[in-house]
């Protein structure tokens, strides 16, 4: 479990760094995808190697892993990431059409 947690933490860090440093909106969205994949890794790892889903009082020694809940959650993350990417790319495209760039720093015309 620890190994998987480390992998996912590295993925999370890469994703956050990518979100913070990329100026292109598509790059930022790729960072978001990395973060979501980090969550997926965690879920799948928890499904196999995490603490058991049954209450601790009745857990047997070999009961381990969240089980189906974790795997289903990973599937949902994938589906949601796809849905979000579709909306996101449409919005980036609309922004590009109006501003001639997909640079997030160009989005600075709205000011108070």
């Amino acid at each position: 479990m620890t190994g998987y947690l480390i992998v996912s933490a590295v993925l999370l860090t890469c994703g956050v760094v990518c979100m913070a440093s990329k100026r292109n909106a598509v790059g930022v969205l790729m960072g978001v995808e990395l973060v979501l994949n980090a969550a997926s890794v965690n879920f799948v790892a928890a499904a196999e190697f995490g603490p058991p889903a049954v209450p601790v009082q009745v857990a047997t020694a070999d009961a381990i892993g969240v089980g189906l809940d974790g795997q289903i959650a990973a599937l949902f993350v994938i589906v949601l990431a796809a849905a979000e990417a579709a909306v996101a790319l449409a919005i980036v495209l609309a922004f590009f059409n109006q501003h001639g760039t997909a640079d997030v720093d160009a989005a600075s015309e709205l000011r108070g």
């Binding site: 620890t2 969550a39 190697f49 949601l80 609309a94 922004f95």
Partner: protein, 533 residues
Amino acid sequence: MARDWQGVLPDLALSLPAFAPELIVCATIVALLLTRLFGMARWLPAGSVAFGGSALATALACLQWGGAFESPSDGWAGLVRNDALTVYVRVLCLLGWNLTVTLTLLTGVPRPSIDPADDDGPDFHVPLAAVALGSVLMGQANHLLMLFLAVEMASVPAYVLVGFRKGSREAGEAALKYLVFGAGAAGVMMYGASLLAGVTGTLSLPALGERLALIPLEGLEWNEPGVGGAAIAGVVFILCGLAFKLSLVPFHFWTPDAFQGALAEVSGFLSVAPKIGAFALLVRFGLSLHGPFGETGDALLTGLGLACAAGAAVSMTFGNLAAFAQKDLGRLLAYSTVAQSGTMLLGVAACFLGVGRGDGDLAVAGLAGTLLYLTAYLFLNLGAFAAVAIFRNRTLRTDVASLAGLGSKMPWVAGAFAVSLVGLVGLPPTAGFVGKLAVFAAALSDRVGSPLLFAAALIAAANTVASLFYYFRPIRSLYLDAAPEGTSGAPIGPPVTGSERAYLVLLAVPVLLILPLLGRLGALCDAIAEAVL
């Protein structure tokens, strides 16, 4: 893995009736898409379908009033919780949706384009309904997966709504900013949920507290070092995601841009329904950390309460300070919602502190105060944004200066706007006063004494006075400033219609006449809070 299929039918029989309003919303979305597909839009406009669906869903939600109080239950194998809070949030969100649909019918947005083949107007109602569905689901999520799904359901269509004005530079920029922040917050929240699931072994909120309480115990097979830290990180990440939805400082950056770029009707809806749902979700998530085992849960919840109190103070102060300099009405009201969120969070902080310390009265008073405030806020904010939308249709502008001299030209709209703003300040006898009073009373009634909560309540009182200045700026513009030279004359555009007036009055009546109903409403909020705690 063998599953017990015996329980499926009884679970369905229990879940389906309770879920009827949500199913109506889903059916409305499908109907909206189908009418567009089969070209029925000519004789069955999308607005009418959306209005019918929202009215039906709201009515059904109201009918469920009694049952959930008497017999709260879990639905869909524990994914959702059906109790008094669920029903209350459901009624408020669906009512907000219905009122928004009505407003779009009155103000005629989004405008039909000249070429019917190019007209995206009817599609406007699909994301609107989806946001309503997400908000309602947020109020009943009882599972980490459901929590994430509900938040995304309310967020993703909201990006589309904000960017709906085709070809508008402002809308495109607003949608992009909202999207970038929102997607980041959702990713971080999902990661938090996965951490919690990984260290506790459950995704179900009611089981979460019990498992968290076990973490400090050594000698469990899977209890590796650092698990406690991972659990706390998970909780913090999820709270970040919720704070984003609530537009609390420091996760508020999207709010002013999104609300300035979006249509006023959309901003009004986005400032109300998802916020009500997110507060219910915050309360449910916070309370789930409080397991039956006492100490760990108590400590965690007390810490959470203190964090909420601090966040409330910062949000209020920052929101109010930033609102002073705003010239655009959408932006001004956006910073006002940041500040209002802070005030509501004060009630939640009192609730968490009360539960963490075992002070039941404080917990009930805090939660009931927040619920009462949210009810008032629904009418206040929808009213304010509706007035902005109606002004915009006449002046084609949304800045404060464009209101100059409109007080005498459009007395009904101006009056309704003024009532909403006075209510948002929290002056008697409006609903805003009642809500603020309930929250402040709860925060100050903390007898055992948590200096931070007390200080936050005092800061909130000071903020209320300070907020007078910027809330009264549009009112001064309406009534005291003369219309600018050259444009003096009738406002541009058609006169205000009777139905627009009726709509504004409909929103202003609950704001003004809340005092006689206060006893019943307060008792209702208390009952809901007691049922949840």
